[in-house]
Structures are given as C-alpha cells and as structure tokens.
C-alpha cells in the first residue's frame, strides 16, 4: 500500500506501524511517531496502517 512518510509518498508491504518502521530502516532508532497528525506512543506501534495514512517520524535535533 502507499502511505505518506514524512511528506513523501512511500510504498510499503508491512501492515502495522512497527513493521513499517522496520521495513523503512528505523529498527532500533530513537524516533517518535504520529499518524494522521495524532501522536502514537512507542507502546502502541502495533497500530494497523491504512492506504493514504500520513506517518510522521521524528528524532531529537538541535533547537533554540
């Protein structure tokens, strides 16, 4: 299915958030996620994704 990952259309085979993160190379990375503008805690990454879902994946960065 195709979903949006950080603003880019992305084809994924996996069906859950956790599996998509693994598929896209985030395994073990220090990241937080939101799906369709709503925060999804790390404890709820068994969330099933649907075509067209908007996934945001963020990590710690410099800030002022």
């Amino acid at each position: 299915m195709q979903i949006m990952v950080n603003g880019s259309p992305t084809d994924v085979a996996a069906a859950t958030l956790a599996a998509v993160l693994d598929e896209l190379g985030y395994g073990g990375a220090t990241v937080a996620t939101a799906v369709n503008e709503a925060f999804v805690p790390a404890t709820r990454r068994n969330l099933a994704l649907s075509p067209g879902d908007r996934l945001e994946i963020v990590a710690p960065r410099q800030g002022g």
């Binding site: 950080n6 603003g7 896209l24 190379g25 985030y26 990375a29 220090t30 990241v31 937080a32 996620t33 939101a34 503008e37 709503a38 925060f39 805690p41 790390a42 945001e56 994946i57 963020v58 990590a59 710690p60 960065r61 410099q62 800030g63 002022g64």
Partner: protein, 256 residues
C-alpha cells in the same frame, strides 16, 4: 532558582542550534555553565541515525533538556509535537512555541493559551514562549503555566530588550512567577539588563552560535547574567536628574 520544583544552578539557558560543529557546541556549553539546553524534534529518514548521534551529544553535556515546539503554527501541531518530544527526551518540560506571524515569529496568543491548557492537563510542565503582554501572561498562568518566557525581541534578531517598559511591567505584575527573557538577545549587556530588571534567567541561542567565537561569547553571557543578577540582588540606587558629589564637600581645602 526553581522551575516546576527543580533546582537549577545557572540562570543562563542555551540553545543547541546553528553551531559550526558539535565540538564548538560542547565547548560553548562548557564555558557558559548553562544548566538547561533547548532541543527540538525533526523528521528523520530511515537509517539516518542523526537523532541518536545528537542525543548522545546532549546527554554528554550533563544539563537538563527543554524540548521545544519550534515552528508550530497551530494548537494541534504544537500538542502533537510536545507529545513526541516527551517520549523522545523523557521529560515533561516543554518550551511551548505556537507561532502566529511568519515575519516576526510572534506567538499566537490565543492558540498559545489553548495549547498550554491542553498540555498542562496532560501532565506537561509548560514553559510558554510569550510576549510581554500582562493579560496574556495572566491567561497562561490560569491555564496552568508556572513559568513565563517573554521575548526580548523577535527570535534571531539580536535587538535586545525592545520594550523595556512592558518587560518591567510584566515583572512587577507577577513578582513570584519564575520568568525567563527568551529570544532576541544579541549581546551580554542586554542579558545583564534583563537580569538587573529582576528576570530570573535568560535563554538565548543565535547570539552565541553565530558569534565568531561561540565559546567566548557563551562565557561573556555567563558573566553578564551573573553580574546582572548580583546587581538586582544588591538593590540598585535610584537614578536622579541632578548631579550629587560623591566626594565629601566638607573638609575641602579653601584655595581660591
């Protein structure tokens, strides 16, 4: 000085953005003695691992972390960003920015209060980036904020304290609320002035990161903050219009 019950040794808070290198950032923090570092969350690509590298760097600074919601323009965006930051950085502290104007980066006061209320209800300890407006300050306190962070000037301008009257009024209106002048400072003298006015701390980033020698500027700000605080605690003299000789007049030799 305490923020939400946490004792902070330094009254200088420093951002982590825009430094020429991680090594310069670390040296600037060392010479600043800052006790709090602001950080953010941003998109990461798969396999990038930049977040992990930055996370390692800031942990080695040995300071408390204050994640921000920089760049957010709506309540929902700010709340979701704060939730992601809390998970990533393991702190309930959040520097709440809800920007209302693109050119000035002025906060959206209505969205700021609403986001502060929601986040407080969710257990966050909110540090709102606000203006010197006393009515807005009152609303933020009612929404649950226990710290206020009025701007000195628009972010990144280095203009210093552009509304001294407003900042003095805000300080006087809420004497017991911890307040940080956040944003717009360009020189240590401006930080000293904020501290002399009774502000509890200052938060800056660009003034240090974009200086020719960031570490030296960081130390300059540290000394200014300390000097300004000492002056405030020392109860400064009142200015007066007419000159008054400091050397005693009595006993002067009569020589004319």
């Amino acid at each position: 000085m305490r923020f939400y019950g946490t004792e902070i040794a330094s009254r200088l808070m420093l951002g982590t953005a825009q430094y020429p290198s991680p090594a310069v950032l670390a040296e600037a923090f060392r010479r600043s003695g800052a006790g709090i570092a602001t950080v953010s969350v941003r998109r990461e690509a798969g396999g990038e691992k930049a977040g992990a590298a930055f996370w390692d760097l800031v942990r080695e600074l040995g300071v408390s972390l204050l994640p921000n919601t920089a760049g957010c323009h709506s309540v929902r965006e700010a709340v979701t960003t704060a939730q992601m930051a809390r998970e990533l950085f393991g702190t309930s502290w959040i520097k709440l920015e809800v920007i209302g104007h693109t050119d000035t980066l002025q906060p959206d006061p209505f969205a700021l209060v609403e986001a502060a209320r929601i986040l407080t209800e969710e257990g966050f300890q909110v540090f709102p980036y606000t203006t010197e407006d006393v009515v807005l300050a009152d609303r933020l306190l009612n929404a649950g904020c226990e710290v206020l962070m009025p701007w000195g000037a628009p972010i990144g301008t280095g203009l210093g304290l552009t509304n001294i009257y407003g900042l003095r009024t805000l300080r006087a209106q809420f004497p017991d609320v911890p307040m940080v002048v956040d944003a717009g400072l360009g020189l240590p003298s401006q930080a000293a002035m904020a501290m002399e006015m009774g502000y509890d701390a200052v938060l800056l980033n660009t003034a240090v990161a974009k200086a020719g020698d960031p570490a030296a500027m960081a130390e300059g700000f540290a000394r200014a903050v300390e000097a300004g605080r000492l002056a405030f605690e020392a109860d400064p003299m009142e200015p007066r219009d007419m000159a008054a000789p400091s050397t005693p007049v009595i006993g002067k030799a009569f020589l004319s």
